[in-house]
Symmetry: C2
Subunit: 543 residues, 2 copies
Amino acid sequence: MSNAEASLEHLFRVFTMPEHKDSTLSQIEQHLSDNLSDFLSRHVVAKRTSLEEIEQDFNDPHLPSQPEFVSTHAEHLLEKLVTNSVNTYAPTFIGHMTSALPYFHLSLAKLLVGLNQNLVKIETSKAFTPLERQVLGMMHNLVYEQSDTFYANHLHSAVHSLGAFCSGGTLANVTALWVARNTKLAARGDFKGVSKEGLVAAYKAYNINNLGLICSKRGHYSLGKTVDLLGIGRTNILHASVDSHTLDPKEVLALGKAYQAQGNDLLAIVGVAGTTETGHIDPLDELADVAQELGCWFHVDAAWGGATLFSDTYKPLLKGIERADSVTLDAHKQMYVPMGAGMTLFKDPAASTAVRHHAQYILRKGSKDLGSTTLEGSRNGMAMMVYSSLHVLGKSGYQLLIDQSIQKAKLFAEMINRHPDFELITEPTLSLLTYRYCPARVQTVLQSGEYDTHVINENLDSLIKAIQKQQREAGKSFVSRTRLGINAYPNECITVFRVVIANPLTTVAHLNDILEEQVKIASKVPLLNTLMTCIESVDHVTA
Amino acid sequence: MSNAEASLEHLFRVFTMPEHKDSTLSQIEQHLSDNLSDFLSRHVVAKRTSLEEIEQDFNDPHLPSQPEFVSTHAEHLLEKLVTNSVNTYAPTFIGHMTSALPYFHLSLAKLLVGLNQNLVKIETSKAFTPLERQVLGMMHNLVYEQSDTFYANHLHSAVHSLGAFCSGGTLANVTALWVARNTKLAARGDFKGVSKEGLVAAYKAYNINNLGLICSKRGHYSLGKTVDLLGIGRTNILHASVDSHTLDPKEVLALGKAYQAQGNDLLAIVGVAGTTETGHIDPLDELADVAQELGCWFHVDAAWGGATLFSDTYKPLLKGIERADSVTLDAHKQMYVPMGAGMTLFKDPAASTAVRHHAQYILRKGSKDLGSTTLEGSRNGMAMMVYSSLHVLGKSGYQLLIDQSIQKAKLFAEMINRHPDFELITEPTLSLLTYRYCPARVQTVLQSGEYDTHVINENLDSLIKAIQKQQREAGKSFVSRTRLGINAYPNECITVFRVVIANPLTTVAHLNDILEEQVKIASKVPLLNTLMTCIESVDHVTA
């Protein structure tokens, strides 16, 4: 056997020889399976505090020249990567939408890689294709509640799709608005449609200057990416109701009409069901009326809030979503599925025809290959995770999860309101809220209306920023922060803590600890003194 | 405890109680770990043959109302889903680019879900962010081979990115050409750039009618989606060298100049390094010259062939790739990483500034959040799979894998050439080839030049289609099929078998079996008789 043959045979072992049961990697697996929370609290210990320090461990731009034993590498992963990851499972990690997941996803993840299906086409996915179509059907049913005959006719139809899976909410929004654009600017007369001839020819054929998209100022930043990508341009995002967290249908109508009167047309109104920053929900039912009157597409970005539909109690908050032409959902948010499970749902099963495409070796005409209407090409079988989660938790399980999250957020809001040194900034419509640290004395000064709030708020901003950073770095808990314009301070933006109650394991005691820790950090931050001095000087000057 | 509380407590168990060691799901896991190939051959047994039958198992559009035991559900998955999946690990599955993966990815998949990081921002990924940047740096180094100082300056820079991770090659192509478009149509004078003002304003500001993209007819179908999405329009894809599998630089230059002379400009020339259908490589170095002369972006779609750069032997085939402005790579193809690991690499680390975006709660200016320049938002830590694979296999391991794949493809081509009843249609440049079944007698007739080849080829097409379908349905092996225009039959397209030698475990014996099986199927297909009768009648008529 030559050297090369020997090396090759050795190399093939990674494909054919299972990990030994006592290997480091098998032990990691075992620990994950036995006690995930223990694994994470033992290994995710933030050995290095600053990002710059961590970067030192990932600095080498050279390819490793020689193979390395799997166990050696697994040790390395534990020591350098896992240690300095984020414990998103921790019940005190309430700053973003990533949370604990059910145990069974660990095993399913392994099955998914073991099967390594590619859902772009049936030839590499087989049963996964009908499964994904069924999941889309179930989610379509959750939103649109059509008849059994409707689903019997469309679920597995080669010329229809009830939606499109994708890696996440951004692509779901892009897919929805791509379909909307191509539907709006379809072929007519000599014009062969925007897909074929492009946007410039389309605007000419339709005799318009611009296409606009209306959303609130809380619309997700992916909408900006979408109109950029689609060639519509970011300046054609029209923000209505800028003094509010949600759209006022009357203002949307007026804005839309004025825009159309200037020789433009509207691509879509985008209503949000659960804004990323504050969890607000636009008045969907009334927006559907407005979209109808303006003759434009109605898209609902329910990436966060869509799962609220599982709850009989809170579902009415989303009234009107069933009138949307398209809806974005993220199963990796409130459906507790691993990262990478976005979906666009279409009211009209023929809608995606506007972006249908073919190739010679796959996606042939008449095939049921999912890739014919998806934005992505090769994709994994993430739909299985959603399918399994729907079965193991059931609608009633999801209802409980949604209900307890919202109730906990409301409790937390009460706790903040009761605490003298905190200010609730936005109430939780769903399970998101924002608040800030603001000593009682400062609140009184601000509310008196006798002082220049701007300077005080700027000082508070720095204080909030410092508290948030120190709390994150201490590693026990995490809230995020954002900047919001609120009615109390027109023409200002203030920095606030942002909380997402997503983890079912978060208790009221955890929430209490987080507030206590913030008070404690605040008391030691020099900025608090600066702020109090500032208050005194403001007092002094204006009194 | 109320009923609701009891249900909630029960529900929380899926988050807190590990799977029992004897549970069905744990047993599945164990089987996967112990012997993946055995698991697949026992469970992926194609109980149902037609897609319509499988669809019956995934027909219910109603949400499961009540929770189900994990074990009950796991049984269900085995019986309905796994059974009717595709065994992409089988060494006789040589029809597509999905293949066996190293064992360690099974464990890593579990770790990835256990950690559940979100790479859109550092706050939910921490060490995963520098890790992803390092992987992009290593892959950039593989393609562009810049100095150590270059990487020291850019690898972790907040205002640079050496590339962008994404779910696959389609998004990688979209990302590259999005950056190209926004760079081409950047702000100038009063015009604020295409990102802000849109495509119509941009064409006006730059005084052009259209933007075109030049590629060969073998360019991936995602390029069509890309120009559709970007608003450029599918008719502005200009196919040069339509009689060839690869671009002729002179023709590209002439086509580009003629197009520009008509008041248009060029967005990009896209060279392919390993076409999906046939594995051909465009003359990249000369195309780089042409792109320079035409003043347009040069993108190389190396989703399949990029990994060839690991091989010192075959790397010269890609000469010139280092001159591309952007390069698409798919680690889930020849880097043997699970589905979902696409990348765009940028020659200029500042290129992605053209699509940079911000939000208040994340991606703040100056942050190193990866989401500031990616097309997707939330993303999982797939970069870890690439990182680990690079370490465990090493450059030398990848070199061996690439070399043996190409060598095996060349051997297979020889086997086909030697066999009297097969015709090699396209030679393997890399590890892809196409061929067809064509009985020796028919080959003689076709080559004689005395007959109308069209009728004979149509009969052959049906025969190939039938053989491919029956072989797939028999479940032992799988080759794909496509339709190609080749020089031997101008103005015709013929149906061919398409083979991708990706699985390292495929042996020459397997390849031999596949040919033998095709001969056997052919002998039983009534179409063969039809074909032979047709030949006789053609003989008869024209002799």
